[in-house]
Each structure stands twice: as C-alpha cells, then as structure tokens.
C-alpha cells in the first residue's frame, strides 16, 4: 500500500487481552474496552486524544510526564490517564480549564530546558514534543532561559545509523523502557538523579561501545529529535511510505519503507506486522544501503570463459545466449545435464517460476534450493512424523509457553525479533532449557538465566533427545490420553520398546554427549510436567549427519508430552532466510512439486500437466550435492543459479570450486558479483526486495506482501528475468504481475488455494494452509488431528557421525551466525554493519588455547582433513574445551574450505556443525586464502573491464 507519510497510530498504552469488557464515559462519549485498559487508551479508541509524552503503546505505562492528567468523577486530584485503568461506569473529563492550566504549566517546565531550534531540527514536523506543546496551547516560558539547563550537551554519533543528542532529551525514559521491555538488552539506563538525570548507554559509554545491539527500538520510541536516524538528519522527513517485508531472516518483519521519491529514507518497523509487532533488528531496520551500493551490477553480462573479461549486453542477448548454450548442452550431454538452484531470498512467485522453467523448459526435475543445506531435514523429519514440513505455531504463541527448549539455535543472533519476544516471556517466569555446545547469550543475559544448559558435544544431538524421551517414558510422565487419541498406537508401542532400553538412558548417553545425567533428567521432567512446552530449533539440529533423525526426535518429544495442536506449545523450526519456507513450499525440490507432493504422484502430475501443457518427468532430479558430483563426473554441464552463493555457502569449497569449473555454462542471477559469479559465464542482474512485488513466507508459514518501492535498477524484477529466460527456452509464460503467478499457485496447490493479493491486502498476511476449510489461514497447525492423520513416532537410533575427533584432529569445529551480519554477508558487508563484525574469528576455550600457546587475537590455522584456513583467535569460555566455533560471513574466512562433505543420511544436508580440526598458531593466511585473494582480485578486474 502506498500511503502519505504519517506516523503510525499510537494508542498510548498496550492493549489488554482480557475477555471481560468495561463500559465508561469519556467526555460524554460511551466507550467499551477490555478490562485492564488504561483510560488513555480507552479515550484513543473512542476517538479522543489525551496529550501525552512518556506514554506509547509499545511500552507499559510509566506515569512520568504528568501531561495526560484527567478528572475522574468521584476521585480527587488529577489522576494520570495512562496509569489509571478503566472501571465500569467511570466518568472521565479529559479537558477543563484546571486541566488545561496544569498541562500548560508542565509543558512550560519542559520547554524551559529545551532548545528552541524547531525550524532547523531534524524532527521538525514529526516531533511529539512539538505536537504536544501545540495541543496544550503553550504560549510563554515565564521562567526565561537563563536558568539551569542541559542545552550544551555533546552528541553521540558513534552508531553508524543514528545519533543521540542529549540536549533535546526530555527524560521520558521511553528509550530505556524500549530497550528493556521490547528488545530485552537493557543497554540503556538513566544515570544520576533529579535534574541531573540523563540517558546513558552501557557504563556511561557511547552507544557503540555499550551493549546496544542497534535494534532501533529506542529510536522508534523517542518522541523528540534526541534519537534520530542519520538518514533523517541528512534527508529530512519522508513523504510517502510503502508497507513491505524484510529480506533478511526467517522472522519476516513487516516494515514501512519511508521514501522520498525513489529513495528509501528509513525502514520503520510496522506495528501491524504480526510477526514483529513494531519491533526490528539492526539488519532490517538499518542495513538496507546495500540495495544502492556501487557494487550493484545493473546490466546483464556474458563471457565465453571465466578467464575472459565480462561483456555487458542487453537482456535479450543474455537470455538468448543462455538458451542457446543450454539447448546445446542438452543435445550433447542429455536432458538431465542441466539444472537450476532457486533462491530462498527471492519471492514465492519468482521461485515458482524457476521450478516451472526447469520442469517445462529444461524438461527435468533438476531443481533444488538452499533449504538443502539448512532445513531439508526439517522437511523430511516433520513430514514423516506430523505430515507437514512446517513450523506448527505463530511467534506470538511463545507468550503462552511455560517451558521453552532452545536447541541448536541462537535466536538472539539469528532471529533477534523473535528472541526479544522469547526473552519477555522468560522474564515473566517461563522456564528455559538450552541444548547447545556453546553458552549462547540466552543461557545468561539480563534478568534471564536458563534453568538448564545442556552443553551437548557436536554430533551427539540424537543421544540427548533419546535420553530425554527415555526419562519421560520410564518415569511415566507421558501424556497417555493424548497419545492414545492422536497417535499411531502400534508404532508408538514399538517406539516405547525402543526408547525404554538402557542404552538411551542419560547415564549411558553421557559418555557420548558429555551432558551430565542429573541435569538431563531434571530437564526432561521439567519439559514433561512444567505446563505448555515449546521447542525451538535451528541449524544446530539439522546440519548434521543425523539431522533428520534429530528432527524426528524433537517431534517425538512433542507428541509424547501432548505439546502440539494449541497455543503455547509446538515444534518450531527457526528458518534462517526470509523465504526459505516459501521456496520449499513452491516445490524447489528435485522430488517434489509445489505443495510438497512427490513427482511420482500421478494425480498431482496430471494437475500440473493440464495447467502447464507439457508432460512432466516423474523421476526425482538432482540435489545440489548430487549436481556437484555429477558436474565433476562430467554429466552435469549447465546450471542456472539464482540468488544463492554456493561457492561461499556450501561445504567443502575445493569440491564446489572443482564442480563449478567443470560446468560449461554457469548462469548466475544476483545483485552483486558474488563468489559463484566468479566462475560464471552469464550474469543476470538481480533485483532486491525493494525493487519488486511479490510475497515472502516466514517461519510461521506467514505469507506477507513484498511491495515495490522503486523501479528495478537492472530494468527487470527477478521474475521478469526468469520469465525472459524461460520464454527463450520456449516456455510461453505471459505474466503481467506477480499476483497472476500467485493466482496460478493458488489454483494448483490446495494449501494455498485461498491465497490472493486481494486477500493479502485485506488481512495483512496469511498463514497457510489457506483454503475453503480455513479461509483466513491457519495460525496453529494439527489442532484436531495431525496433517497425516495420526502422529507417527519414528525410531531414532543414534548413529555416531564419521566426523570424530582423533589424534590428528582433536577438536570439533561448529559454526553459527552473528547478529549484525547475514549469512554470506553479501548484503550486510556492504552496509555499516561491518563496523560490528569486520571479520570472522575463531572461538577457542582457554585450556585449548593455552595448550597450543595461543593468545587472544593471534592468527590461528584451522586444519581439517579437507582443507585449511586462518582466522584470528577469540579466547573465551563460551565454548567447552574440545569445541571451537566460528561464523561464516566473510568469504575470505573460508569457513567452508574446512567443512567436509558428510551429510544427513536422508536429505544430504551438509554436516556443517561438526568438523574435526586441529588448531595451531600461524603467522600468515593459508594458501587457500592467498589463492582466494588473487582470484578475487582477478575477477574484479575482469568486471571492471566490462563496466568501462
């Protein structure tokens, strides 16, 4: 929706969720609201605005500004309407001459200590202090301006995205409260007392030096210019806004892109976004500069060989060239010698078109997506046990959880807006069990201490899950009635026999997992008996050789304790990317058509064949790892790779590079020249989320609109590019707008049949399944029965990974993400986020470091059986002895030079999380890094030649 720029409506205090209603009179108007609502909010809902400064509806009422005072019949004095809750029959007067005088006098005090430079101030026209002074009718400041004041105050411009100007601060404490209540970081406080009070970050440090994570909640909350985006200071007030969805992680926050013409001035979190409810993180909120970075490639390019310079060409020439080459390759090597990799960052419509192009244009099923390397085990595991490959709840559901398990995930880094919700619930008293090799932030952070941290040895997740189940079964803590009613009885009994065996006991499994038996027992009891139990898991569960087994183990636990099918419980895979869920839904799999239906299924194939007008291949195609193997074998020669940097993100870089070099025609469609593009023959310039229309589906199965804010820099949105290529291959696609693509998807996919852009505009977002059965979508899944009917308890035998520590490689390396950078960093490295994480480092325990003579900050070589790289050491006890850890956001780190080709038995999801390594002190970068650097330089030079 395109709207004039207006601040989002603010009702003053948060909504009450009481079911009881109360009716009262405000200025003679009758208003009915839930019990627990403040008088201020009741007035807002009745259409009466009570002036205020310290109240805002994302935060609990505070009662400090004393502007919102009202008169209440039968009560003496002037109660603050923000802290007073409604009662039946209450009579409120919001205006009178007494009230007016009081408000003016309070405002007069405020302005007696405030700069009077409104006309040149960055928030001129968008300032609540200005507005409120106008509303109360302030005319004079009789105190004059000679008295004590805070007008001479140094600005803190340390944060790259916003400025803190204390001279304009009115001490409303909204920023402090936002950092506490909304974000949960507690980085801000009020320092000093009385008139000397001032907002302070960390231990009286600058924002950048403090614990501030730059989420921007304080900037959103600030009613004056004190905390303002630098982009606003520079560019001024936006004039229109577009509601869209973030393109970073799987939380899928809604944002208002606030614009001046085609330029994004700032991204403001959208309060009505159900996934984020007005909150955001440093990436979505501030790191959008990459969309207009100078590295953006805006013209298609081709070259014969990767040693040749690039040649800029028209779109027509590029797609014709590609189509010609692909047809030639197929003629020479066979129908299945070409394939495509679709992007988990592109829209649903775009991903749908890619798999359609492969199936109708290439004539095979060689389509795969990055979910292969992250959550494909979720797909396999949840489909087998519950019947659907998707998270079962909404994010809001965590508000009703009593016991939360976080396993193999680090939400404060990778899903920060969800983590803030989780932390809020934990501060209210919910219990937390963390199962992770590292002491992630959730284990111990402000006002939160995990009840149990089970530091599992990398590669042994299944033993822990089995042990938890073993305890619950052997102590008789399972949900008997639930299981009897909702799960397959025979399979359950078989599974009970399996899990009750001593070999799964915590005492026995401790030797594998390293988790103390007593803690494990206590954690199991807590999950089984503590009330609503919710499990959240991430790639620390899936990226293992037993990833699928672990997912099934998690589903088993949830079924065992009756924790599925209602609010507050569930199995929640934390999907990493903005549209990885969507790309899976859209059939970007070699074995599945859209809607997770196997290609061998005759009815499904016929449905698509009728619509698409071709005969479809009924055999599974190649998965990404198979594509690499086949390329090296000489059987796979053409690849269309959209929005996916396999050269950086897939494991065993040597293997990937060898495969890419063997491909005769590699087509990359992306926004920057990424690592993969350096091996490409055709480069099609991509479009960012700001440049196109479409939809993303987040980890909640929530389909949200992506709306265009500016024309695509390359002249084509990604779907238009794919369509052009598809048509050059003879496909005959004629879509005028992505909504038409969604209409086709809805026609062919039962879980999407009720979805349309019209409905998305009406409802804001829709959680699939959305069909006649559930026309408004489905927040909670498996409510009456599981998608497969009865739940299936899968046997989850522990099979140790081949990747074990030995004398040569005695440490286990595991990997993860950090807040400020996103995946391969292509986007975030091209923004100021690099100020927080300019390089990937290696976390190593002090004992292991000492043994090797390593000090904090030293260069260390990390060697595995497949490769070697070099990083700076970060000596810390966040990791246990025997475990080392790094992130993978910078190509030069070569994290994947070391990772092996071990993978999940069911899906081939790479075992990124376990690599046996040796660490030693070195003096120089590795030979791979030296080679990477020179290759990088060479390719960039070849690019430069094209652009001049």
């Amino acid at each position: 929706m395109l709207e004039f720029y207006e601040p989002q409506p603010d009702f003053g205090t948060p909504q009450s969720d009481s079911e009881t209603l109360v009716t009262l009179t405000i200025d003679g108007i009758s208003v009915t609201v839930p019990e627990g609502t403040s008088v201020m909010r009741a007035a807002s809902e009745g259409g009466v605005k009570i002036p205020r400064l310290c109240a805002t509806d994302s935060l609990k009422s505070f009662g400090s500004c004393r502007i919102c005072l009202v008169e209440i019949e039968g009560r003496r004095g002037f109660p603050a309407s923000c802290t007073t809750t409604v009662t039946e029959g209450m009579e409120v007067r919001t205006q009178s001459s007494e009230i007016g005088k009081l408000r003016r006098n309070v405002m007069e005090l405020y302005i007696s200590d405030h700069p009077l430079d409104c006309l040149t101030c960055p928030t001129n026209g968008d300032c609540e202090l200005q507005d409120t002074a106008g509303e109360v009718g302030l005319r004079a400041v009789r105190y004059g301006f000679e008295g004590e004041n805070h007008l001479v105050a140094e600005k803190d411009e340390s944060n790259p995205y916003f400025t803190f100007d204390p001279s304009k601060c009115i001490l409303c404490s909204r920023c402090v409260r936002a950092c506490e209540e909304v974000q949960g970081t507690f980085a801000l406080t009020i320092d000093g007392r009385g008139f000397d009070s001032k907002v302070s970050a960390g231990q009286a440090e600058s924002f950048m030096e403090s614990e501030c994570v730059s989420c921007g909640a304080c900037v959103d909350a600030c009613p004056t210019a004190t905390l303002t985006e630098k982009s606003i200071i520079e560019l001024g007030k936006p004039e229109h806004s577009v509601v869209t969805t973030c393109a970073y992680c799987g939380v899928g926050c809604s944002f208002k892109a606030e614009m001046k013409g085609n330029e994004v001035v700032r991204m403001t979190p959208y309060k009505d976004g159900k996934a984020n409810e007005g909150h955001a993180c440093v990436k979505g909120r501030f790191a959008f500069g990459y969309t207009t970075h100078k590295d953006r490639i805006t013209k298609p390019m081709i070259r014969e060989s990767i040693d040749d310079p690039w040649r800029e060409v028209s779109w027509d020439e590029a797609v014709s060239y590609t189509a010609e080459r692909f047809k030639a390759i197929q003629a020479k090597y066979g129908r299945i010698s070409i394939g495509a990799i679709s992007s988990s960052r592109c829209t649903n419509e775009e991903v749908y078109l890619v798999q359609k192009m492969v199936r109708t244009g290439f004539g095979n099923n060689n389509i795969d997506t990055c979910a292969r390397v992250c959550h494909s085990p979720t797909g396999f595991g949840l489909k087998t046990t519950l019947g659907e490959s998707a998270g079962t709840q909404t994010f809001a559901s965590v508000e009703k959880a009593d016991v939360v398990i976080v396993m193999g995930a680090n939400p404060t880094e990778a899903h920060p807006v969800f983590a803030s919700r989780l932390k809020r619930r934990l501060r209210e008293g919910a219990k937390l069990i963390v199962i992770d090799p590292r002491q992630i932030e959730l284990v111990r952070s402000p006002h939160i201490v995990a009840d149990y941290h089970l530091p599992v040895r990398p590669g042994t997740n299944v033993t822990v899950l089995n042990a938890l189940a073993h305890v619950i079964v052997n102590e008789g803590l399972q949900a008997h009635d639930y299981i009897a009613e909702r799960c397959e009885t025979a399979d359950f009994e078989k599974w009970v026999q399996f899990i009750a065996d001593e070999r799964h006991s915590p005492e026995h499994t401790e030797q594998f997992s390293g988790v103390p038996a007593a803690d494990l027992r206590a954690a199991a009891r807590l999950y089984a008996t503590g009330g609503n139990g919710a499990i959240f898991y991430g790639l620390g569960v899936t990226e293992h050789s037993q990833g699928s087994t672990a997912v099934m183990g998690i589903a088993n636990l949830a079924m065992l304790t009756g924790n599925l099918g209602r609010d507050g419980v569930g199995v929640n895979p934390l999907r990493g990317q903005n549209n990885v869920q969507g790309s899976c839904d859209m059939g970007s799999f070699p074995h599945e058509l859209p809607g997770y239906r196997h290609v061998s299924n005759v009815a499904t194939r016929q449905l698509f064949e009728r619509e698409w007008g071709v005969t479809l291949d009924s055999e599974p195609g190649l998965r990404i790892p198979n594509m690499f193997d086949a390329a090296i074998d000489g059987d796979f020669k053409g690849l269309y790779c959209q929005g996916e940097d396999i050269a950086q993100s897939d494991p065993n870089t040597h293997h990937v590079e060898a495969a890419l070099k063997a491909i005769e025609c590699l087509v990359v469609q992306d926004i920057f020249l990424n690592e993969t593009a350096k091996f490409a023959h055709v480069f099609l310039p991509g479009a960012t989320f700001l440049e196109k229309d479409g939809t993303f589906t987040n980890a909640e199965r929530r389909i949200s609109r992506v709306r265009k804010t500016m024309p695509p820099l390359s002249g084509k949105a990604d779907w238009e590019g794919t369509m052009a290529l598809a048509n050059a291959l003879g496909c005959n696609m004629h879509y005028n707008h992505p909504s038409e693509i969604m209409d086709e998807i809805a026609k062919l996919t039962p879980t999407f049949s009720g979805v349309s852009y019209k409905k998305l505009d009406e409802l804001g977002s829709i959680q699939w399944p959305c069909n006649d059965h559930t026309p408004a979508g489905t927040p909670i899944m498996h409510v009456d029965e599981f998608v497969r009917g009865k739940g299936f308890f899968a046997i989850t035998e522990y099979v140790p990974t081949e990747e074990r520590a030995n004398r040569k490689f005695p440490l286990l390396l595991t990997t993860g993400r950090i807040l400020s950078q996103y995946n391969v960093g292509a986007q975030t490295r091209r923004t100021s986020n690099s100020q927080w994480h300019a390089e990937d480092t290696l976390e190593i325990h002090p004992h292991d470091a000492e043994e090797r003579g390593i000090n904090h900050g030293d260069w260390v070589g990390i060697q595995s059986r497949v490769g070697q790289t070099v990083l700076h050491a970060d000596v810390t006890s966040r990791v246990k002895p025997g475990v080392v850890y790094t992130t993978f956001h910078h190509p030069v780190s070569g994290a994947n030079v070391i990772t092996t080709d071990n993978s999940d038995w069911a899906t081939n999801c790479p075992e990124y999380k376990v690599t046996a390594v040796q660490i030693s002190k070195v003096t120089a970068p590795s030979s791979w890094q030296a080679r990477q650097k020179s290759f990088d330089t060479q390719q960039l030079q070849l690019l430069e030649k094209a652009r001049h």
Binding site: I336, F498, Q546, P620, W905, N908
Partner: protein, 78 residues
C-alpha cells in the same frame, strides 16, 4: 582423494541403511531403504547402483544389498 561415483553411492546407501537399521527386522528395513532410494534418488544414481548388484567388492552392507536388489527390480519394471 575423491571417491569414484559408485563409491559415493555405496557410502550413501550404507549410511541410509545404518540409520534405518533399528526400524524393524532386516527385510522390513531393506524395504524402507529401497523405498527411500526410489523416492529421492535421480534415475542415473538408481541405475548405476542397480548395475552393480553382482559386484561383491563395492562394499554394500547386507541390508543395503537387499535394498538395492529390490530397487533394481523396481527399475526393471519401469
């Protein structure tokens, strides 16, 4: 250093068999493994492994061998 095509496939099948080995008696597991291969492997992979049933030296585990034999039968029937 890099394994040959068939070595890779054998490794994958053995891994699948090992992970399914507790699902039931050997015949049942072999059936499950063959179904998995049929569902997820591309035709060239299925054909290649099927061609090597007779080869004693490629290292298929007993259950893997049973499964591949069943798979080969399915391929033949197509």
């Amino acid at each position: 250093m890099s394994a040959s095509k068939i070595e890779r496939l054998v490794k994958m099948v053995n891994q699948i068999s090992l992970n399914m080995s507790s699902n039931g008696p050997a015949d049942f597991v072999a059936m499950q493994v063959s179904e998995h291969l049929e569902k997820f492997w591309s035709p060239p992979m299925k054909n290649l492994i099927s061609e090597h049933i007779a080869d004693q030296n490629i290292g298929l585990s007993p259950i893997s061998l049973k499964a591949v034999i069943e798979l080969a039968a399915i391929q033949k029937a197509k």
